[in-house]
Symmetry: C2
Subunit: 198 residues, 2 copies
């Protein structure tokens, strides 16, 4: 004997969340159904509402319930520099950490030929159109420093070069506050070869 069919179905539905397996899903389901019914009903409603209303900003591809997101529609942000990131969360991270006042473009992924993710899937056709508008003077590539992120940055920088737009890449090196002893060789060698004159 097991849980009732509907409980089983709900547990399996929770397993689609990242990092959630059978046991965690089970804990979530029992907590929601016993102690947290209002929270659960709020979650169900909000999720349905979000799925209904949220789609991609037509200009930068980030997730938003408006046609054009706040970042793109703001006229206090500089149209001439465009920062390319992998995910909507990265927009916020860059914005809060750096004081960057330009616009963003969200790839919603990275080039990954093995997973059949090519230039179209990460919206590079839309980015090409944006660059062709002629406003962007600097393209800042803030994709993740992974193999795929680097390849994506390289690919996008070629797009910029063809249009005579300056492409820059965020610096790689030793993280602030870290100790050399604990830094991996790859990072340290990159930091060494990118050394700056003081």
């Amino acid at each position: 004997m097991g849980f009732s069919p509907l409980i089983e179905k709900l547990i399996n539905a929770f397993c689609c969340l990242p990092g959630v397996g059978q046991k965690t899903a089970q804990r979530m389901v029992f907590q929601l159904l016993t102690r947290h019914k209002e929270g659960a009903s709020h979650l169900a409603k909000t999720l349905a509402e979000a799925l209904d209303l949220i789609s991609h900003c037509r200009r930068c591809r980030t997730l938003t319930e408006t046609e054009i997101c706040d970042f793109c529609s703001s006229d206090r942000r500089d149209e001439t520099s465009l920062c390319v990131v992998e995910s909507p969360a990265d927009v916020l991270i860059v914005d809060q950490a750096t004081g960057f006042k330009g616009k963003y473009f969200v790839l919603l992924g990275r080039l990954s030929p093995l997973d059949a993710i090519g230039p179209e899937e990460i919206g590079l056709d839309l980015l090409a159109k944006r660059l062709d508008e002629g406003l962007v003077q600097e393209l800042i590539l803030a994709t993740n420093p992974t193999v795929e992120g680097e390849a994506t940055a390289h690919y996008v920088s070629e797009m910029a070069r063809k249009r005579n737009i300056r492409a820059t890449r965020i610096a790689h090196g030793v993280p602030m506050g870290g100790e050399l002893e604990y830094i991996d060789n790859n990072t340290l060698s990159q930091a060494f070869s990118d050394r700056k004159i003081l």
Copy 2:
């Protein structure tokens, strides 16, 4: 600037899940909205359906969408022994591990005066009625071996004693496959004083 209001609301809604904070909720939301829309919509629907249909078994208090759960309605299970557990998940755990063929009673909690959880909150009035029916001959107390679980077991055993029903408690001791070196003192001392003749 931040995420759009609806995304922010959805992230907060996910924070009600056990073990999920702001960052994890954010990851869940972006994964669901970008890569996993069908999964998300299935989750929203199933959760709403479950909240609507699932309630407590009228006999044992476990969660089920039927009035009486499968365990209680089965006539192949022995009515004379009743196993008392804290949560619906524990029913399955005991059932799969032990080969117990009796019935279950689910407290949906444990006595905890500090949190205002008294006998009524954990359904002991319903359990009293069940014991008064006169069918139960052995009450197996399988609450967790925590301070509150022990107190609950003790309280329930008193209910049984008043009705001349045998109350038993699952054994405490050294877990099978463990090493004495790593067992806490409390458990080891319990195992020592509960030693059996071979």
